[in-house]
């Protein structure tokens, strides 16, 4: 009732509101355009004919498309092995991260340890998340070298599992804490052991959280470059390492660059479109909850 009294909208005010709304939509559309255009340009360059790529004025909407760039990067530049490396390393990393991460998150969500121990472990995990990776890369490189693991996929899996773990635990902990305590209590009464409860009852219940974590870890391992370029030389090179060789202007093969870039980002785009809501939740996690 009160609202009506306060907000008696005159027609002039309504027009003003309409204009404001129109301006807001225009501003948002402009921002979306700026955000999307470079991505569009990468995808479109990948399917352009070589002659159309450097054209001036630029061809914004190509009228002929080709798959020759894709043929080139696989047949001539042999990136099949690198793609395979990327897929294997990412898949194994995500698997281990989710398994070890959810076990740790479950353990931390229980009150079996003293509060101080739990808090200490959590703070430590938070701190390791803050570390800039460059601060440990030199000793880490020397350790991997001593172990004779340079240029192996195993060394990359080990790296991604350990550097992704703090974030994985952090994300998963929220999901485990949200589970009602009664479920586990009922299982205890039924005589389930700790690992039975975890694998048969709680893990299936946290599947949405596990999916979110898996997507984040997928993106991390799939995109990672600093360790990949440091720890691999030839056989175990992943896609980002190959793409980084396009940083030299002397190598003006923009078609191949765009094609490899497309191969890298298409799986991520597919994932993020299908799970946008969860992704945004993961991105803002903690920030809003406090």
């Amino acid at each position: 009732m009160e609202k009506h009294v306060v907000r008696q909208t005159s027609s002039a005010e309504r027009v003003q509101k309409q204009v404001g709304r129109g301006l807001a939509y225009a501003a948002i559309s402009a921002i979306c355009l700026v955000m999307i255009f470079p991505v569009y340009w990468l995808l479109i360059t990948a399917v352009k004919y070589g002659a159309d790529i450097p054209a001036s004025p630029p061809i914004f909407i190509p009228w002929r498309l080709t798959g020759e760039n894709f043929f080139n990067v696989f047949a001539k530049q042999g990136i099949g092995l690198n793609l395979f490396n990327s897929i294997v390393v990412t898949a194994l990393s995500v698997l281990f991260l989710v398994l070890i991460g959810s076990m740790a998150a479950y353990a931390l969500s229980k009150q079996a340890l003293s509060r101080r121990t739990t808090k200490g472990i959590l703070i430590w995990i938070l701190i390791t998340r803050i570390f800039p990776p460059v601060t440990t890369i030199i000793p880490y490189f020397m350790i991997i070298k001593l172990l004779g693991l340079i240029d192996t996929r195993a060394s990359l899996v080990l790296t991604y599992v350990s550097y992704g773990l703090p974030f994985a635990i952090w994300l998963l902990l929220g999901f485990f804490q949200e589970l009602p305590k009664e479920i586990e209590e009922a299982a205890i009464v039924e005589g389930y052991t700790l690992s039975q409860r975890f694998f048969y009852i709680l893990l299936p219940l946290t599947l949405p959280g596990i999916a979110v974590t898996a997507i984040f870890m997928f993106i991390y391992a799939w995109n990672e470059f600093m360790f990949a370029t440091t720890l691999t030389t030839l056989k175990a090179k992943t896609l980002p390492v190959v793409i980084s060789s396009f940083m030299s202007d002397k190598y003006l093969d923009w078609g191949s660059m765009a094609t490899m870039g497309t191969l890298m980002i298409v799986p991520i785009i597919v994932f993020s479109v299908f799970s946008q809501k969860y992704l945004v939740r993961g991105l803002t996690f903690g920030a809003v909850k406090g």
């Binding site: 001036s56 076990m103 229980k110 601060t135 030199i138 350990s162 980002p240 940083m247 993020s272 945004v280």
Partner: protein, 298 residues
């Protein structure tokens, strides 16, 4: 009865420790051990590129030298400059856009997808892609500039324009994070207070300055902390966009330390700088976190 429950509790505790063990081992091996090893290495002078060179113990000399090392302090200052420009720009734009999108608009899912695109992109690809866009001969940016009557800019060739370029790419890729977090913060604010302010006849600006900003303070602190920390980590896109050049004009701290250690193999120098860098990161993040915790105490 009591004995049984005790053994159950012990069993639980043992299980919990067992479940934590893999994570603890992994974190020990990859964070604690390398850090200690790095601290040990930082007290040696050692150029791994020289054949037969052996590490020579020099005590704390590497640390003392780092303070007067113009290359190191230059990289730190450039990083500070980068933070001081990029973070406020992202924050102001992010706040404005977050307000626009939380004011009940249609097509929010489409907007969300558009915002996720830059964010999800492989940083290495971002670097090479923008190299292509900035290209003076057939880059789209210079073509657009000329089409609208401006001058072409040789973006990556000049020191100042190259620094501007890395800032543009930074804002393009990271603005969405700021928008998402601030928008989530704004929509979680209690509606009632704003209605009360409306009744009292507060203007929009007053509402923003006196209500939204103070209420959002913890969220704002988190956004700023996240962005500053990520600026310290910037590496991949920088590596493929400019590789620190021309000269060292875009060489930020992470890239600088990386080059010292893994390109020139000045192990002692690079590890001592890593440690100093860590100390800086620590001080910044802890002071921010205190701010957040203090806010939550209310």
């Amino acid at each position: 009865m009591k004995g049984a429950s005790l053994s159950y509790r012990q069993q639980e505790k043992r299980g919990v420790i067992l479940f934590l063990t893999p994570a603890i081992i992994v974190l020990l091996v990859t964070s604690v051990f390398p850090l200690i090893y790095s601290l040990a290495l930082s007290t040696f002078q050692w150029n791994m590129l020289m054949p037969l060179s052996a590490p020579k113990p020099v005590g704390l000399a590497n640390f003392a030298r780092a303070f007067v090392d113009v290359e190191f302090t230059g990289a730190l200052l450039r990083t500070v400059l980068y933070v001081v420009i990029a973070v406020p720009v992202e924050f102001v734009l992010g706040m404005a856009i977050a307000f626009l999108v939380t004011a009940r608009i249609r097509g929010l899912p489409a907007f969300r997808v558009a915002m996720l695109m830059p964010l999800m992109m492989t940083p290495v690809v971002v670097g090479v892609l923008w190299r292509f866009l900035f290209n003076p001969e057939y880059g789209v940016i210079d073509w657009l500039l000329q089409a609208f009557g401006g001058h072409a800019v040789t973006w990556l060739a000049g020191r100042a324009t190259a620094f501007a370029s890395i800032l543009i790419v930074e804002v393009w890729q990271q603005l969405p994070v700021v928008i998402f977090i601030l928008a989530a913060g704004i929509s979680s604010l209690p509606e009632g207070i704003f209605e009360a302010a409306d009744i009292d006849g507060a203007t929009r600006w007053q509402r923003f300055r006196l209500l939204t900003v103070p209420l959002l303070r913890p969220v704002i602190a988190v956004v700023l902390l996240l962005r500053i920390m990520d600026c310290f980590k910037v590496f991949d896109a920088l590596y493929t966009l400019t590789y620190g050049g021309p000269g060292s004009s875009t060489e930020l701290i992470s890239l600088f330390i990386y080059k010292q250690g893994l390109k020139f193999f000045q192990i002692g120098r690079a590890t001592s700088m890593s440690w100093l860098f860590l100390v800086v990161v620590f001080i910044v993040s802890i002071s921010f976190m205190r701010q957040v915790w203090k806010e939550q105490a209310y």
